[in-house]
């Protein structure tokens, strides 16, 4: 295949990626956008097999290895993507992003070994950049995966002198990077990769649970930039375009997400450097709460005129989407005004809850966004909070200095009655106590959300 044709097809793939991002930004065109992106990526991958340049001939060297590796990737990636529970989707995205960053770092390392002394200074600088950022993205994403999968604590991990260790690691990373540029050795490059992996871990550890989605989005943008930088080293316009697009759009998306969550992007990113060890919260303090039975809840609902359901991650964990829809349908048939109040970051990521409820066929017009539903809580008789905690915690408005302070919340505290369906008194993902649980107008219904809701449904039917 001629060089011009190859470049033209690469350009077409670049255009496909732009159309993909554009499509993904609007609900009506989102799915088509994603398919256009997949088409562009497949096209780009396919033509590389037919491309010859001055130093290689067709078929590609190591063709068997290449095809075998792609087959292995398909066997791992496709079932993982198809079988994952929608509740666990955020961590899968984090993992996919991490392996992409790892791949970019490996590509840069191989090309560096291959070029040897022939590498220009600019190529070495871009290689160093790719290795650093790719490794940070890889190890950082693995930590976010572990936090979301709850393989480790979701609270910020802060150790004594942590910020000095992190700063020292960053300085060493940059120092070794300079060493690589000067000496062109293989050993310094491997040390650089090791230190960058360590920095990625240290960088993400102090991030609190609620900020994890922002970090995933940021690491996603990072991986985009590494792809662009490796495109420079490999002299591939397509990689430069695709990587830069993802880097730029990922940066904007990270900012939008931080805004939706009321978080300062700067504070999230540099939390690692500024975090101080926190005193362990006054733990073990026993305070009275009012817990009720499913019958109590059913009676309360039966005499309500307006009910707002606030679903959280706990609803998804219990797979209670369908039961909650059954309850909503029953209440509507009794003439009760029902709405779902959806916090922008309900679940584990912005928009995650919409995905989960859509899966249970909840009608779209019953889903109310935060700004719509907040002014109505004053006229709401009952707010049912199912497996959510942080997104309704008034501490976000009243307690400066608490980790979620400033995050917009669903103001269920203005409703006449509040029902919390919870498994236990354990605090939410951000790891902070919710005063609302001790409010006299709050009733707690303990147990698995699905089992509890099923009992409420049958109690309500009997009334």
């Amino acid at each position: 295949m001629s060089h011009t044709l190859y470049d033209l097809i690469g350009l077409a793939a670049g255009v496909a990626f732009i159309l993909a991002l554009k499509g993904l930004s609007h609900p009506k065109t989102a799915r088509r956008g994603n398919l256009i992106g997949a088409f562009g990526a497949s096209l780009a991958t396919l033509v590389v097999f037919f491309h010859t340049n001055e130093d290689s001939s067709l078929p590609l060297n190591n063709l068997g290895w290449i095809l075998g590796a792609i087959a292995i990737g398909l066997v791992i990636g496709v079932p993982a993507a198809r079988k994952v529970q929608m509740t666990q989707m955020p961590q899968l995205v984090a993992l996919f992003n991490g392996v992409g960053g790892g791949a970019a770092a490996l590509v840069a390392i191989v090309e560096y070994l291959n070029l040897g002394d022939k590498a220009t200074t600019a190529e070495v600088i871009f290689t160093v950049f790719t290795v650093i950022v790719g490794c940070v993205s890889f190890s950082g994403s693995i930590i976010t995966f572990m936090k979301l999968q709850e393989l480790m604590t979701t609270r910020p991990v802060i150790f004594p002198a942590g910020r000095f260790i992190i700063a020292a690691t960053l300085v060493s990373v940059l120092g070794v990077g300079g060493w690589v540029v000067n000496s062109l050795g293989t050993t310094p490059l491997l040390i650089l990769a090791g230190l960058s992996l360590l920095f990625g871990i240290l960088f993400v550890l102090p991030v609190g649970g609620a900020d994890v989605p922002i970090v995933i989005s940021l690491l996603n943008a990072f991986t985009g930039l590494t792809v662009a930088a490796s495109g420079y080293v490999l002299d591939s316009t397509l990689l430069i375009i695709a990587g830069t697009l993802v880097g730029a759009s990922g940066t904007i998306l990270t900012r939008l997400m931080a805004e939706a969550m009321g978080r300062s992007l700067f504070g999230t990113l540099f939390g690692a450097f500024t975090a101080k060890p926190q005193d362990a919260a006054a733990a073990g303090e026993e305070r009275p709460v009012r817990s009720g039975s499913p019958d109590d809840v059913a009676i309360l609902l039966n005499y309500a005129r307006r009910v707002v359901i606030v679903p959280g991650f706990g609803l998804a964990v219990a797979q209670a989407q369908h039961t909650v829809r059954e309850l909503a349908d029953l209440m509507i048939s009794k003439g009760i005004d029902v709405a779902y109040g959806i916090h922008p970051v309900a679940g584990r990521m912005p928009g995650h809850m919409n995905v989960l409820l859509a899966e249970a066929n909840v009608p779209y017009d019953q889903l109310a966004e935060m700004d719509e539903v907040n002014p109505t809580f004053g006229q709401t008789d009952v707010a049912i909070v199912i497996g959510a905690n942080d997104v309704v915690n008034p501490a976000a408005q009243t307690t400066p200095g608490c980790p979620i302070y400033g995050m917009p919340i669903l103001e269920v505290n203005h409703a006449a009655n509040i029902i919390f369906l919870k498994r236990s008194m354990r605090p939410g993902f951000a790891g902070i106590e919710n005063e609302l649980l001790y409010d006299p107008k709050t009733m707690l219904l303990f147990g698995d959300a699905k089992a509890s809701l099923t009992k409420v449904v049958s109690a309500l039917k009997a009334l």
């Binding site: 993904l24 075998g68 590796a69 993982a80 993507a81 995205v93 996919f96 790892g102 880097g247």
Partner: protein, 93 residues
């Protein structure tokens, strides 16, 4: 490639990237992130190119690993994004 040509491509791509996602509702943040994530899986192309260049076992081993990881990123990313968006579709009616 000419350094100036590369800088031009880079700067223009940055602006296109900013423009296309500047207004997007929070409902679509997750699918958009996931879709963008899949797009950078195109590093697979780079991984195939370096596998073709590989001459030593070390280089080949590293590039084969890169191909596996990149394929997971690209194909898994598009499939999971499609699954998410498929669920939105039924509700629009």
């Amino acid at each position: 490639m000419e350094p100036m040509a590369i800088v031009s491509i880079f700067v223009l791509a940055v602006f296109v990237g900013f423009e296309v996602v500047s207004k997007v509702s929070s409902t679509l943040h997750t699918p958009l992130m996931s879709g963008a994530n899949a797009i950078h899986g195109v590093i697979l192309v780079g991984a195939i190119i370096v596998a073709d260049h590989s001459t030593t076992n070390l280089e080949l081993g590293l590039s084969v690993t890169a191909i596996i990881l990149a394929t997971i990123n690209m194909v898994g990313g598009f499939v999971v994004t499609d699954r998410m968006l498929e669920m939105f579709k039924g509700n629009k009616k």
